[in-house]
Symmetry: C2
Subunit: 412 residues, 2 copies
Amino acid sequence: MKIETVQGGICAVKGVRAYGLKEGNKGLTLIEGNGIAVGAFTLNRIKAAPILFTEQQLENSGGILSAIIANSGCANSFTGDEGMKNAEKMAELVSGSLGVRKEEVAVASTGHIGKQLDMALIERQLGVVAKGLTAEEAGSTAAAKAIMTTDTFLKECAIRINPHEAAKTESGPKQQTDATVVIGGIAKGSGMIFPQMNTATMLCFIYTDANLDAEALSSSLKDAVDNSFNMVVVDGDMSTNDLVLLVSTGKGGEISEPEFKTGLNVVCTELAKQMARDGEGATKLIELRVKGAASVDDAREIARAILRSPLVKSAIFGERLDLTCGRIIAAVGSCTTADVVDPHVISISFKSNNETVFLAVDRGVFTDLSGPAKDILNGKELFIEVDMGVGEVETTAWGCDLTYDYVKINVA
Amino acid sequence: MKIETVQGGICAVKGVRAYGLKEGNKGLTLIEGNGIAVGAFTLNRIKAAPILFTEQQLENSGGILSAIIANSGCANSFTGDEGMKNAEKMAELVSGSLGVRKEEVAVASTGHIGKQLDMALIERQLGVVAKGLTAEEAGSTAAAKAIMTTDTFLKECAIRINPHEAAKTESGPKQQTDATVVIGGIAKGSGMIFPQMNTATMLCFIYTDANLDAEALSSSLKDAVDNSFNMVVVDGDMSTNDLVLLVSTGKGGEISEPEFKTGLNVVCTELAKQMARDGEGATKLIELRVKGAASVDDAREIARAILRSPLVKSAIFGERLDLTCGRIIAAVGSCTTADVVDPHVISISFKSNNETVFLAVDRGVFTDLSGPAKDILNGKELFIEVDMGVGEVETTAWGCDLTYDYVKINVA
């Protein structure tokens, strides 16, 4: 199996058209593309109207979607019955505009909580966006842009999987057979990010032509979300509006479920990393690997505790290696439900941009943190490995530093 | 029963002598006072040497303490065997200096993690401090000052309880009989504060002359800690060094356990509020009452989630009422283990310094947040009440806002 990155985001998938419009902080995104759909929804106990509505839609349509409409600037959350009516109205408008069944339209929103939607604006913007729908790359880009809120760059990704070509084949003339499978996604999210399926005001729409049934798609999505979006920590807050949708047209080549899972993991991980890199006010992307853990649950809990800690995050912003290590230790210990935590065997190492590796804590003992170690935190991308030393399980998570700009962005 | 605030901190209790010395960021506190002792220790899975050592000491001495030594500037945490030896050495030095049993000396530390203690410095400082021991008020003050780290003010509190005088008695000539009971405490803590018994690099030493047995003292301390320190949230980080010690000389008047509990709650709550007010970089003290909850666990989980949220905290710093309410809602919903969360019956109100009360969310509906509401967040002390509307249980918690200075303090 060979995986290559391709251009075009969701429009890399044949049969998908998209467009978006952003006016001030109010944006509207429309995606057209028919197929089997599965979703992952926020676990917040207070779910926004579009979340409740879209869950219903997937039930009512028998798991089929023909279009997705998403607005930015208003979360349509904590908006009571009027909020539910407005979510439904959005689906009706799309149904009328595109001639698709109302039940096959998913609705998503992101923005401030507690305000009603400006339906006149949405109707007007939809008129423009529906006319702009295109299968060109620019359609995916416009769609990704229109759902941005505090995001500083748009997030998209697409890959082509050739199940029949070995990864290491010498590249001769490009093989472009019908046997390939494409997965493309767009996403938004930079604040209110915490991994408890799913993180927080993160929206992600993924299309594929993989010919798989709903069960395989659903299992693949759960797996990918657990390994990607659920392992991104920006601030530990959980949104009322999180939504990941995966729609498959089924028109691509044959692919096994494990192969598709691998590909979907690649797309979701790339989008998750883009979110972490765009964490509100962030100056550094942190990739954290927790290895040597006793169980998957332990590894994940420990990784999240470290990346959630404001003290660890601000020490990394300050490029203070000694404080960073000490606070990682405290964060590890704060995992009171972890099965096995033995301070005597924990090791912590850092790898910077230029591949220098530095072992800062060696099986329970701090090494000399002066000298070359001082520069290890200077890069814009940081790789931290915490070896718990008690088992064989490892996990990877992504986060960012805590800066003055995080506060600045969130007071406004 | 009548409770009045008195001066003197721990030295308000007869038989207690204290002193402290702070040189740069390295401080040493010594307290002498013999009696039955009970403690509450950090739940962090990685416990600092002084925590492990002091837990042992209480066992070895049969629950009696004669002295407490505490240093600031080095946490003696993640320091292996050498750390344990140094903690023991501190107890030995105090034993030699004061002529008390080594087993009856408690040791506490606060400061950076991963560094060994400078034992020569501690020995020298102890020489000075032991000579300075005094039963005067100044002794308590010096002791409270010497354990400060990022604290901006010292924290102490003392009360006198007269179990036989009605609270509303007209104050005639002051009653100063032997029948009164005194409780005095000092504490430190402003960062790494999170309530999971106990919060984080918080130290608190409480003395009393209440004539109660270890069981009654222990039960009273657990109750008071749950209602006070465990309900303070600054940043959600948990320290490896938290320690609360309660020592009773038993020489005061008779008091029932419920009466003592009430008094101990007053002292612990006052010290907890002082910590929240001194939260790193804080400009506002937040008192949060969660009422109408279905259970104590629900109420506490919800209160902590709200006060832990960086988004809620930065919105309050920015004095943005709309954002504050929306993010409180999201934080409430993030309590996925809470039994009952019904968005349709939640109300949120605010009370400012000048006692103006403003109902911002009325049983699931945002009220008009413009107009007079705009000024409600301007005060330095803020009272927020979240009524879950589903039960009869209430709890109170304390926190602070998230500011640029929090980041500034923690990068250095």
